[in-house]
């Protein structure tokens, strides 16, 4: 546990330093734990754009999933839709929160079963050329 916490800390530091040197900062990335039979999970995080111009998240990938899509849940008059997004724009100096019931990364067809406290590397590809790897923690939340 201690060892894994250390690794986690290093990953977070790595992610923060890498992003800090550039324009995008990703904080609190996490994945909701699900029962083993589940074939689709969701990842959440806050993406901050520290530059003065808009930056778009174009796509995301992970070695632990066959496919990752950018999605948004929209609820209108009681009906919930999941809308696939072609990208996610973050205005200069602003944050976008990916959170339950809103924007999320839809993680499809896991290659292994994920449990609480596991760490998953997600690679985020931005339209300013930045590729950021973040360590998302699986949480029972």
């Amino acid at each position: 546990m201690k060892q894994s916490m250390k690794i986690l800390f290093l990953f977070c530091l790595l992610a923060a330093t890498r992003a800090g040197a550039t324009e995008i900062l990703v904080t609190d990335p996490w994945i909701r734990e699900a029962p083993p039979s589940v074939r689709t999970l969701a990842a959440y995080m806050t993406i901050s754009n520290t530059s003065t111009h808009a930056v778009g998240l174009e796509s995301a990938t992970s070695d632990d999933f066959e496919m990752v899509d950018i999605h948004r849940t929209e609820t209108q008059e009681g009906m919930s839709h999941m809308m696939k997004q072609t990208g996610l724009q973050i205005k200069g100096g602003e944050n976008v929160r990916l959170e339950p019931g809103g924007y999320h990364l839809m993680l499809m067809q896991p290659r292994r079963h994920l449990q609480a406290d596991d760490t998953i590397i997600l690679k985020l590809h931005f339209d300013n050329g930045e590729d950021i790897s973040v360590a998302a923690v699986v949480r029972k939340q």
Partner: protein
Amino acid sequence: MRTSGAKMWVRAGLFGVVVLVMAAAGFFFLKKPALDMNVPGARSLAPPVRIPPFALMDQRGRTFNNDSLAGNWTLAMIGYTYCPDICPTTLREMSSLYKQFDRPPDNIRAPRFVFFSVDPFRDRPEELGEYVGYFHKDFLGVTGKPEEINRLVTGLGLFYIYQDPQGVFIRDVLHKPAMDNYAVVHYSGLLFITPRGELAATLQPPLATDDILAVFRKLRAYYGE
């Protein structure tokens, strides 16, 4: 002849007025006061909607029909296990609520909780059981024939439809869509069903356990156990 005809009409008219006044008085005195939910996102249905006849099954293969709803309150939602965001968000909240029911706060008899799958082509009973059981051991996962599910959901005045990965709607919910990775657009509110099997109220997400409890208490006080 004309005079007595007119008299008859006057009498009939008076009789009509008396009946109307009595009906209005009866309505006024006998009608229960409207149920004021006073919880954001909550809607009470007056009168409650009688659930149409349906026959489905739970995760253990036991019949789940109108009789299964009798005798106790039911909280329910419709969803599907491939739903990554809104369904687990609601189920997580229900799981916290049922932890409270494990040690009842004020001797409330815990309502049953039912997750009605609207994706019978991918949610087989075993997977559904594992899915709902992950959130709470007593949660029921109910599925069955596409026609039965559709009849129940539309009979409640609710709605679901399939959607391909490009976002195009697939209106036919009685047959498995051609692709594997379709999504289901569905009603996402929480349903409150009386021990007589009537839909009495709905609550829209985002759900908070306190709001669910507040609605449940009001309904129990209004309709009885």
